[in-house]
């Protein structure tokens, strides 16, 4: 029996897969795309006979006939693949499992040529021994529907790029939707920019009161109501008027409410939530996050990073539960596994982003760059946390009456840390847990100090890379495989710029 050829798109991936396949397999990489529609920059003049569609490379007027060209830099790679394929009995196309991967596999089959029956398609959502062996035990065929969906996207982008002048593109970005995701992204930023600039900050005041009972037990409460309505002075005069009354008023605890509350663990990561969390917790750009995640995937450490599914394999959940029980004890193991629903549009039978082996704790992987390790740590924690119980609090609220005013103080004490054990909450300023003193309803308290402060209402926050992705996702625009490129394209073209990690619309002449 001759050897089998396995083709993937990246050398790193080839190296990892090679470990799990026997010596009957030769694993090679195409090093990315092998062919594409022609570009003018590639030097070779367009052969009008071979390609009547010209530089656009696709002819929308005549049945979308496309004229693909092998990328000049890939001719050597292709020659080698063709030679190996000629010697092989079977060719396994093991490119990524999303549509782009499907399309690369199809292009490879087209350019390598020969009997189509010897080409097999294998997909897997993680590069582990089990997953690879399972995939190769049951190879499939190319899914032309998915290939065509990818071709359609490529053609759309190509036609828009060719038929819109750069100037018109800007107007389009503002004024009409061309069916192109980038234009929507630009428009979201432009609209937010206008909203921010049109916003007139309004003055308002807040007031806190430091109170204490006869024993000196103190509590800080905020004035929340005046005559049953929300207390929101609009000026210093209004605030001063309240101060005058409150300074001489008598204060009494009106009510106290204690109740338990819970904080549920987050869902495992999908592409957009990983980008958000990496931006928030690690300060990574969307592009950086995706590059690092891809390396972790190709090295076999995490599942495929372009996904909008929150599914978890039964195996992964079981291993995780075993790990939690062994590591943190049974009180940290929910009775049943936590299940997370995917959004309606989740397109393919993917999995959430998770470590391929939860027992491989952060810091235990050799030869990982610092930032890769930090991203792995984030993914690992999110996954373990998603299978842990909620954190539990005792919350309490005290209401204080003073003249026509009502004041409120809130407190919260963590009773059981639950998933916080592994994923401590991100705290905002002044968000500390606080235990309210034992003040009984009906008891009198005395005013120690009034603390009024001036504020202004704020406009909607500008988008960050990650929050823009979230907005696109909410509008069902873009897909996990395109978020990162949308975000770079709109910046590279100068339609928007990122200042201090916030998007600003560029002036357009």
């Amino acid at each position: 029996m001759g050897k089998s050829l396995v083709i993937v798109e990246s050398p790193a991936k080839a190296k990892t897969i090679n470990k799990y396949l026997g010596k009957d397999f030769v694993v090679r990489s195409s090093v990315g795309h092998i062919r594409d529609l022609p570009t003018s920059g590639r030097g070779k003049p367009i052969d009008k006979k071979a390609n009547p569609a010209g530089k656009m490379g696709v002819d929308p007027e005549h049945g979308w006939k496309a004229y693909y060209e092998v990328l000049p830099s890939k001719e050597k790679v292709l020659a080698e693949l063709q030679k190996l394929a000629a010697e092989a009995d079977e060719v396994y196309l093991a490119t990524d499992l999303d549509r782009e991967g499907e399309a690369i596999a199809w292009h490879l089959r087209e350019v390598i040529g020969g009997d189509p029956a010897r080409f097999k398609r294998v997909t897997f959502s993680e590069i582990t021994k089990t997953a690879i062996q399972a995939a190769f035990a049951q190879p499939g065929t190319l899914n032309m529907s998915r290939v065509n969906a990818q071709q359609a996207r490529r053609f759309l982008d190509r036609v828009v790029g060719f038929m819109l002048s750069p100037l018109l593109w800007k107007k389009v970005a503002r004024n009409l939707s061309a069916g192109r995701v980038q234009s929507v992204a630009v428009r979201l930023v432009v609209e937010r920019e206008r909203e921010v600039k049109a916003f007139v900050p309004e003055e308002y005041w807040e007031m806190f009161a430091d109170l204490a009972d006869a024993q000196g037990t103190g509590v800080r409460a905020q004035v929340t109501k005046f005559k049953g309505e929300a207390f929101k002075p609009r000026s210093q005069a209004d605030s001063d008027a309240a101060v005058a009354v409150l300074e001489s008023a008598s204060y009494q605890i009106a009510s106290r409410e204690d109740k338990p509350s819970k904080s549920k663990p987050p869902a495992p990561f999908i592409t957009s939530s990983l980008q958000q969390a990496a931006s928030l917790r690690l300060g990574f750009s969307v592009k950086k996050t995706m590059t690092l995640a891809q390396r972790l995937y190709e090295a076999g450490h995490i599942t495929y990073m372009r996904t909008d599914s929150r599914n978890l394999s039964q195996d992964a959940v079981n291993t995780c539960r075993g790990f939690i029980e062994g590591q943190y004890g049974p009180q940290y193991l929910p009775e049943k596994p936590n299940v997370y629903a995917s959004s309606g549009s989740a397109q393919e039978a993917h999995e959430a982003i998770r470590p391929t082996d939860v027992r491989r704790e952060p810091g235990e992987i050799q030869n990982l760059e610092k930032d890769q390790e930090r991203l792995y740590d984030l993914i690992w924690r999110q996954f373990v946390a998603c299978q842990m119980p909620p954190a539990e609090y005792d919350t309490s609220a005290i209401t204080v009456a003073a003249a026509d005013y009502e004041l409120r103080a809130r407190g919260r004490v963590l009773r059981f840390d639950g998933f916080f054990k592994i994923l401590p909450p991100v705290r905002k300023k002044g968000d500390d847990d606080l235990e309210l003193p034992d003040l009984k309803p009906g008891s009198d308290v005395a005013l120690q100090k009034l603390d009024p402060s001036q504020h202004f209402t704020k406009p909607s926050a500008r988008f960050t890379e990650a929050s823009l992705v979230r907005e696109l996702e909410k509008k069902s625009i873009g897909r996990p495989s395109t978020y990162a490129s949308i975000i770079s394209t709109i910046q590279d073209r100068g339609y928007v710029k990122l200042v201090n990690r916030r998007f600003y619309a560029e002036k357009m002449g």
Partner: protein, 336 residues
């Protein structure tokens, strides 16, 4: 707002991937809509209309000036710009210096945004926050943040002595007054604060001011090769070079020969006097040409045989010229 078209298309592609829709049908339908939209968009295309500010008149021709937005930033240009030469075309422009307080970048972006909004004037037409620009020390121009979509503007008169300026100050190499950091159409630069001195120096990436520019030295005896023009000696980022007098309109430049600059030694700044003392010819009798090494940021001279490196070069080291024989390195440096 209609995001539905794009979102709908995305879902159709999902259906194509799922085998529920035929891809070329989806493409055809999209293409029909797209070309139709394109046709109407072409009609509605608003040109790059500059916003005319009647109160600000052109210092050259007294026509009103207009605010323009280019990829390099916001500036003012004379409304006589669009006229033909016969009608008295005027190409005067005024750089605008941002009049908003330096955009402090702090941790609390929201607080910063609110403060910036509160500081700004509101557009008399649409109520949007206006950006402000210093035209000169007496006039500040407020332009609607939606410019050029909204033409709202106001001219504020007063004393705007770049107040609160706490940036770097350097001494003007021409008149000795202070130079301050400003921003113009092509980025940040140092500008002289003296009224009648127009000296500027570019801000380099390193944060330093670019070295003082040399006044161009006319060389009326040197005829250009292609154009009917004579050369002037200029000092650029890549060292001394000969440029046509009407450069950059006539784009003819070349490296000067040592013997060509010798007669102009007295017109050169002192720091370049050493170049006039360089050997005029290489050992083979080829003329020595003045070159600039970007690597060391120093000038050197190299032999030139019919436009090709002769292989000889000389470097100014420890106060005197050292000839380096036909080394490969010299030939290589020459090629660049």
């Amino acid at each position: 707002m209609d995001y539905g078209f794009t979102a709908g298309l995305e879902e159709e592609l999902d259906k194509v991937a799922g085998g529920e829709l035929e891809w070329k049908t989806v493409l055809d339908t999209w293409y029909k809509q797209f070309t139709a939209k394109l046709a109407t968009a072409d009609e509605n295309m608003r040109g790059n209309q500059p916003v005319e500010i009647p109160e600000i008149t052109c210092p050259a021709c007294e026509r009103p000036m207009a605010v323009r937005t280019a990829s390099t930033g916001v500036f003012m240009s004379c409304t006589g710009y669009a006229l033909s030469k016969k009608e008295g075309k005027c190409t005067k422009t005024i750089n605008l210096v941002s009049g908003d307080e330096a955009e402090a970048v702090g941790d609390d972006d929201e607080e910063h945004e609110v403060n910036a909004l509160r500081d700004k004037r509101r557009c008399p037409k649409c109520g949007t926050a206006m950006d402000s620009w210093l035209i000169d020390e007496e006039r500040k121009l407020h332009i609607c943040g939606n410019n050029p979509d909204c033409t709202g503007n106001e001219v504020e008169k007063g004393q705007f002595k770049i107040k609160g300026y706490d940036g770097p100050v350097i001494e003007c190499d021409k008149c000795g007054s202070d130079m301050q950091l400003r921003s113009g159409r092509f980025g940040k630069y140092f500008g002289c604060t003296a009224e009648d001195c127009k000296n500027t120096r570019k801000l380099l990436r390193s944060g330093q001011a670019a070295p003082p520019k040399m006044d161009p030295v006319p060389m009326p005896e040197l005829q250009c090769q292609k154009a009917d023009d004579t050369y002037v000696l200029r000092d650029g980022a890549a060292g001394l070079f000969l440029a046509a007098k009407s450069y950059p309109r006539v784009r003819e430049t070349r490296n000067p020969q040592v013997r060509e600059i010798k007669p102009h030694k007295d017109e050169l700044p002192e720091k370049y006097h050493f170049l006039a003392d360089a050997p005029e010819l290489d050992p083979d009798g080829n003329p020595m040409v003045i070159r600039f090494s970007r690597k060391t940021s120093d000038h050197y001279v190299a032999g030139d045989k019919d436009g090709k490196p002769s292989g000889h070069a000389a470097y100014f080291e420890n106060g005197k010229w050292e000839l380096k024989g036909a080394t490969k390195g010299a030939a290589k440096a020459k090629k660049k």
